[in-house]
Amino acid sequence: MIALWSNLHPALQMLLKGLAVILVIFPIAGASSLAERKVSAWIQGRPGPNRAIPIWFAWVPVIGPMLQKLGVFHLMSDGVKMLFKEDALPGHVNKPYFILAPILAMIPAFTTVTVVPFGAYLDAAGRTIPLMLANVDVGILAVFAVGSLGVYSLIIAGWASNSKYPFLGGVRASAQLISYELSMTLSVLPVFLWVNAPGTAGSLSLARVVEFQSQPGFWGGTWFIFLMPVSAFVFLVSLYAETNRQPFDMAECDADLVGGFHTEYGAFKWSLFFVAEYSHMVVGSAVFTLLFLGGWNPLPWVPLSDVAVWLHLADAPILLGLLSIAIFLGKVLCSIFVFMWVRWTIPRFRYDQVMKLGWQRLLPLAIANLIVYALIIAWLQPKN
């Protein structure tokens, strides 16, 4: 099977890999939307969506009602509804940009996936080989660079809608995203400083960070969330702001901006925004998991290679790969759950509070954090 795979044309290989990742991301994003509804319902003491069930499935004895209760089929019915709804195009909009915006929203989400590793296996030599589409040296930078393009969809959508609320939403989104990008980048720097401490081969690859967290020994196996809690916190908060999640959803703030940048959107174009938001969440959670939660290592101080040895999976790369993907996905999903948990707990900030938090709290914190860790690294250095 591996042989068959290797014999394929490289371009075809890449295409298939990309397709596979998109096929995973899309359903996860969709499922997250359902999960959001369920989580919000449960937190609010409601059952949440639990009605839809196809007739042919209603006959399945136990699983049918259970899935119905979980609202799984609402996912399908929502998707079908979004696809077949009338895709109204308001008359006053700037048509090319109006249509372009939701497509632009999808691009960064899917592009960043290429540099995000999502699993690993052991090769014949016992080395851990990460599973990713493009193992470039500049991994995290690529994520930030492409991720920063996400702001365009919001600005363009807000501007092209040619109406007040979307415009305000777009303006807010651009200011907010630019503000929080700084803290986010600065919060990650200590991690890479640590990973690329003098004497080691320098790399900004995310796989390298995971590799670092799966070393044997106490310090080697420590996840960065324990090592650098402040970094993790700043990164997480910035991540919420960057993905426009509550309490930072200034761009679509329904209380004062109706729907913000997507007020004028409906049907499929709206659902693209929706899926893009969840895709951003998935990618963001994945990056957070890789940086601070040990990637595909099941537990702190328990690297994947140990598990492979215990389960005798070292020579079954496919199984091990699947296991690592499962572990990684599990962490990502937990992180997404935290996203939702936070959303349904914390009320939305006021816009000036958002700006104040970004520039006056998080940025100094991130800078101080960077300096502290730089000093620590410098202090540790001579001993090595």
Partner: protein, 180 residues
């Protein structure tokens, strides 16, 4: 108007730091995540209607199954959105147990698209013939369907077990009273 200045308690350090508060909030929401639902699965489960609930206005019959409404039209008069429309009529003389009432509605329509469930009709009714009962959901596919006619109103209202029998007392007085 006098202005009342409310003195605010200064925030404690943990409150100003905000993070502990967020964590406390998240603890609460997490608790709720695992606590049982407080909602009803509506069409299957029905809420217990408290006494005095103002649902759909209905016409009721007395314990002998006779209509109580005498079409005095006070409800029609008092109805703020003019949802009630009554066509008065006379009770035919060949109905021995009701002829003494003399008057009864020939038609009684309540437009539920207009009704605001204020309950003034119930309050004003001198015969205790109209009641806002437990029924709370009315739906239909057309405007016509949303107009409750007399037979539908009696179907919704049913019979109430009150023991006033105002008109029966009158009949008894007619039969056994100070006949001259």
């Amino acid at each position: 108007m006098a202005t009342v200045t409310v003195s605010r308690k200064p925030l404690s350090l943990s409150e100003r730091a905000y993070l502990p508060q967020i964590l406390a909030g998240m603890r609460i929401t997490l608790k709720h995540l695992f606590s049982p639902n407080v909602t009803l699965s509506y069409p299957e489960q029905r809420p217990a209607i408290p006494p005095g609930y103002r649902g759909v206005p209905t016409l009721v019959m007395d314990p002998h199954g006779r209509e109580k409404c005498v079409s005095c039209q006070l409800c029609e008069f008092v109805c703020p959105p003019k949802a009630i429309r009554i066509t008065p009529g006379a009770v035919p003389a060949d109905q021995p147990d009701r002829a003494h009432v003399e008057k009864a509605p020939a038609a009684f329509d309540i437009d539920m698209l207009r009704c605001i469930y204020c309950g003034l009709c119930q309050e004003v009714c001198p015969e205790e013939a109209i009641f806002l009962q437990n029924q709370f959901s009315m739906s239909g596919y057309s405007r016509d369907e949303m107009v409750n006619h007399k037979d539908r109103l009696y179907e919704l209202g049913g019979t109430l077990p009150d023991q006033h029998f105002k008109w029966d007392k009158k009949k008894a007085a007619e039969e056994h009273g100070n006949q001259h």
